[in-house]
């Protein structure tokens, strides 16, 4: 099932994220990454389709209508937690960058190496 609406939404979210990543303010860069990685998660969930039930079996033993794809949900769960870890790291890194350099302006951090 072509998901043209979701394709559009994800496209725009990635655009916004990309634009933020290219900014000078380190905090905005972190926002950009957050948006991009959340969009990636949404994309994965989209792969599961929207026409089933929640992936909880009604009682032990199965039966009932087919649930949505549980695999992508498991994958996204993993991705969310990993994403949390990296976002936290990026944030603390931002703080440490500020401590070391006294600025969070990418241009001022620059230097050709």
């Amino acid at each position: 099932m072509t998901q043209v609406f979701l394709a559009g939404v994800l496209g725009v979210l990635f655009s916004v994220g990309t634009y933020l990543v290219l900014r000078r303010d380190v905090v905005r860069v972190v926002w950009g990454i957050t948006i991009i990685s959340q969009s990636a998660n949404v994309y994965l969930v989209t792969m599961g389709g929207f026409d089933g039930l929640g992936p909880i079996l009604s009682g032990h033993g199965g039966g009932g209508p087919p649930p949505t794809d549980p695999i992508v949900q498991a994958l996204v769960l993993t991705a969310i937690v990993i994403g949390f870890g990296t976002t936290a790291l990026a944030l603390v890194l931002t703080y440490r960058v500020y401590e070391e350099h006294g600025t969070i302006d990418m241009y001022e951090l620059g230097g050709n190496r």
Partner: protein, 157 residues
Amino acid sequence: MTSPSGRTTVISQTVARIVVPIILVTAIALLFRGHNLPGGGFIGAVLAAVAFALVYVIFGLDFIQREILDISPDGSERHRLVENYRWMASLGLAIAVGSSLVPLVFDFPFLTQGVLFLEHLPLYGELEVASAFAFDLGVFFAVVGGLLTIVAEVGNE
């Protein structure tokens, strides 16, 4: 060390005193029922971490150290709390890996999970024991420990 406690109100502290235990209970419930209903080690762990984070935001780290863990928050003890969280994370990881190594002894591959049905128990009748719970418990502690280390260390600054 700056403590944000000065900026929180009595109301928020009161609310927290009520809400935090509820969250913690919910978190543990999520951990236990995870195999059959929405929940599991992850979600429980993150929720528990949220509860602690709430306490921290509202009361400050000093409060936890002083009131809950009975540690005086001066120089040498400064990292004690974080150390405890870190232990919890390490232990959680050890539980998860250790429990996954058990099947190797029985000639099953790493991480093989089994389900044991104990039947005809007095009172209980039938009890389902899934080895996956041990793994989930490891996940719970690892994630709670990890997240709390992060929150506490950041807050420590």
